[in-house]
Chain length 502, copies 2
């Protein structure tokens, strides 16, 4: 028996078990650093990984220390008696091994895997192995099975409406902040659109990061319900007081560490989250471009079919839009800058970036056409009406008020213009590089950091003319971003002027 | 600038960076728990992963804490000024992403990957991704490239001999402790066989674990050289005072966590270690059976060709023996029990397990035939001569004396016989299950723990007759092993007696 102790170290949700090297239970046992163990003493056993400690200041030889997540998971006071035994590998790891060797797994196997993951029986290494194996191929039936397995592990939200819509984008296009505008238009048309989404992971911004510059997004479930009943929608964070799809978050953590795009896993993630959020009708935007997750039409088409199949089997009406992801949409990249663009579109201001307005109307049109009362082909025009009449602006203002307004966040005051090295025509903009520079500048953590694009593809520029402005809040980040932009601005300028006349 | 502090926690070789949540550099930066960082201040930057700490007892807000491996890698005194910046993903991760998508990598790409791994730029998750991707397929050229890349990172031992032999087994067969006997025979024949091997990983024993019950195996390079020059060989641990193939150990750590057999990676591991150890002639034993790493003749044959190709390209003469891995070889499973069997074979005692003697002579014969002076086909008989004349026994005694004898380790005193549930004939023995039970009983950490097999496949047994005896040192392990054996003894007994006459 060991006495429980909290070790105030945050391993990002991992249960880490701290054992003194002279611990009697440990010494001479088959345990080693990084061995997996089962800890008994709480209501249910919890699973974690051992690390050895050489200082009694952290744990004493008769204590068992748990990292912050572990301590909160075991749910016992410090000093409680606990015991530890070696954990066998999770039974479902055999299925992962089969998958690695190229096998096709059954729905039952995916259920066992997901259940073991949710019990923290899998190490991150094992999850990585699963995901890499999955990324080599998954049959449509496997994608469906994994989606259902994840959805089964989490509660489903119920809304008192026949049609509950949502819109999701596979990402990779900087400044592509249509979600807020689409939500405002959809609820302006009387539809129900509870947007419960995650913050940016490996990107410079997200709908939630942008909304957070305007109002609170971290709400209890009861508050979300109240707002949705009243206004028809919300724009709320899925990882705070109210958490949707925790397993999906575990998987995403590992994907983030791998920085590997896995389109089929994205389908699993999107569809399982749609089930949990109680969505009945979903528009999926797949941008195709050189720097997006999906790079060819063929791949986009395969993903569309896969989404449609999984949606049909789960009773979710899926409408896939394959869009142009070749260049940034909008002008700002980073939360505050994107909020400015979004509000300019909603206000129908002259400053509104045209492509952001157009893409928002296009996606909103698809959403509105889910309404059986609307005549086919009229979605876009109905969306335009709602936007131009100011109704969408009114809706976003009501949401901001209901979710409780923030004091406006300022734009980063450290700025630098990146200029054209030669006179010519802008041939292309590398969205990945723009994203990376914005992230280096501090986005999305520093909401005021990011990039303000001043030129688009096809524009003529003179040597020395600004291409974009970097904004940062902190000097270290500012220096990093400048260094990155100097090495590679992300803009390709053709100064062979004859090309224009070709 | 932060002040360096040692945090006495052992993360199994990982550089973990402990940062107080209120650290000024950290707050508002783009860093997050588990972000990868570069730490400057030492001779070379070191790479690590951040975890957040909420207690000033572990690190103060103006300190940067490093786990034991990190502190030893940065090689600076506590209190030194260090700084930290976010580490970009290693450049070679793009190649890993290509491999995951099914690409074939060039030698240059493998060199970059291995170099980044050795600099600790890869997280374990990224290494796992590489290995799972590699396990789906590797061309022979890729196996060669990865082997060479690993070998290039480590020094090569040089011996003053034209022929330096070794023997290696792909594993999975309990009690298969031929290496010690083969080494004794080879050096008895005047060959040079410096066996520098690892301890058991995920298995109940290894040549080194067995040798350690008899004498010291952890020696400095100069001691190893002296013993090899004097006696012609040694049986020494590769992970202690003298370390061969550290990168291979990093890869193996992840493989161990995955508990996934990866035969092609095994080839990389075996061949890169052979280069580093200065081996010129190598016998590789591939046991084929239901419970071994390689389960079919087809797979064994493909591995043989791969070994031969890599060996030819690297100038190592490889001789592959495909052997029967369908049942345990020898009687004991676990270090002390296996040492007993090995010594019985060397003493030509009546107690010597016949199959262990036969397999040792077979493998030793292959080794001896590397000697150009020996007539083809005479290896087995020459090995038999050396064993039966007592010369092999003399050699092992000289090795034990030179490496400095231990006080004999006792057999575990907690014992229990597992008996036949029915009368019948033993149809099969599941080597994996036998291994697992021995590990649960405490092997190889408790040298005296393990399993003593009392019956073989084909034996007739009466109900209640003992099949094997579990030995353990500690009562917790004893209970685990008994529980595991009760659930599944690993023995399959056919009590359909008519089957015998069929």
């Amino acid at each position: 028996m060991l006495r429980l102790r909290r070790v105030p170290i945050d391993f990002c949700g991992d249960n880490i078990v701290f054992i003194h090297r002279n611990n009697e239970t440990f010494k001479g046992s088959t345990l080693d650093s990084l061995s997996k163990v089962e800890i008994h003493g709480g209501l249910k056993p919890i699973y974690g990984k051992v690390v050895l400690v050489d200082s009694e200041d952290i744990v004493k030889p008769d204590e068992l220390g748990l990292s912050e997540a572990g301590f909160s998971n075991i749910n016992l006071p410090e000093g409680s008696e606990v015991s530890m035994v070696p954990a066998p590998p999770p039974a479902s790891i055999n299925s992962v091994q089969r998958k690695i060797k190229g096998g096709v797994l059954s729905a039952r196997e995916y259920r066992a895997i997901v259940s073991d993951i949710s019990l923290q029986k899998y190490s991150k290494i094992e999850i990585a192995a699963l995901q890499v194996a999955n990324s080599s191929f998954l049959t449509p039936q496997e994608v469906l099975a994994m989606t259902e397995a994840i959805a089964e592990q989490q509660p489903v939200m119920k809304w008192n409406r026949d049609i509950v819509v949502d819109e999701v984008c596979l990402g990779g296009v900087p400044g592509n902040r249509v979600s807020l505008i689409v939500t405002a238009i959809a609820i302006g048309a009387g539809m129900c659109m509870p947007k419960i989404a995650r913050k940016a992971v490996g990107e410079s911004s997200s709908a939630i990061d942008v909304m957070e510059t305007l109002c609170n997004t971290d709400m209890e479930e009861s508050d979300i319900r109240k707002i949705v009943e009243e206004i028809g929608g919300c724009i709320s964070w899925c990882g705070g007081k109210f958490s949707v799809a925790p397993i999906d978050n575990i998987l995403l953590d590992v994907e983030k560490s791998l920085s590997i795009g896995m389109p089929q896993q994205m389908v699993v993630s999107i569809m399982s989250k749609a089930i949990s959020a109680g969505v009945t009708h979903l528009v999926v935007d797949i941008p195709v471009g050189m720097n997006t997750l999906v790079r060819t039409m063929g791949e986009a088409m395969r993903l569309r079919k896969l989404m449609e199949y999984v949606g049909d089997m789960l009773g979710i009406d899926v409408n896939v839009a394959i869009t142009d992801g070749s260049e940034p949409i909008g002008r700002g990249v980073g939360p505050v800058l994107e909020a400015r663009d979004v509000m300019n579109v909603l206000r129908c201001s002259d400053e509104a970036p045209r492509e952001l307005r157009e893409k928002s109307l296009f996606i909103a049109g698809r959403i509105l056409e889910f309404d059986p009362r609307l005549r086919g082909g009229h979605g876009y025009y109905r969306a335009q009406e709602i936007l131009d009449s100011g109704r969408a602006l009114e809706m976003i203002k009501r949401l901001i008020h209901a979710q409780s307004r923030n004091t406006p966040m300022p734009l980063g005051q450290l700025t630098r213009d990146i200029t054209a090295p030669v006179t010519g025509v802008i041939e292309s903009i590398d969205g990945n590089q723009i994203n990376r520079i914005a992230i280096m500048a501090g986005a999305p953590g520093d909401a005021g950091a990011g990039i303000d694009l001043l030129k688009s593809v096809g524009d003529e520029v003179e040597q020395g003319e600004p291409l974009y402005r970097i904004h940062a809040v902190k000097s270290m980040e500012f220096a990093f971003a400048n260094g990155l932009a100097e090495g590679n601005s992300g803009f390709k300028i053709s100064n062979d002027l004859s090309a224009q006349y070709a």
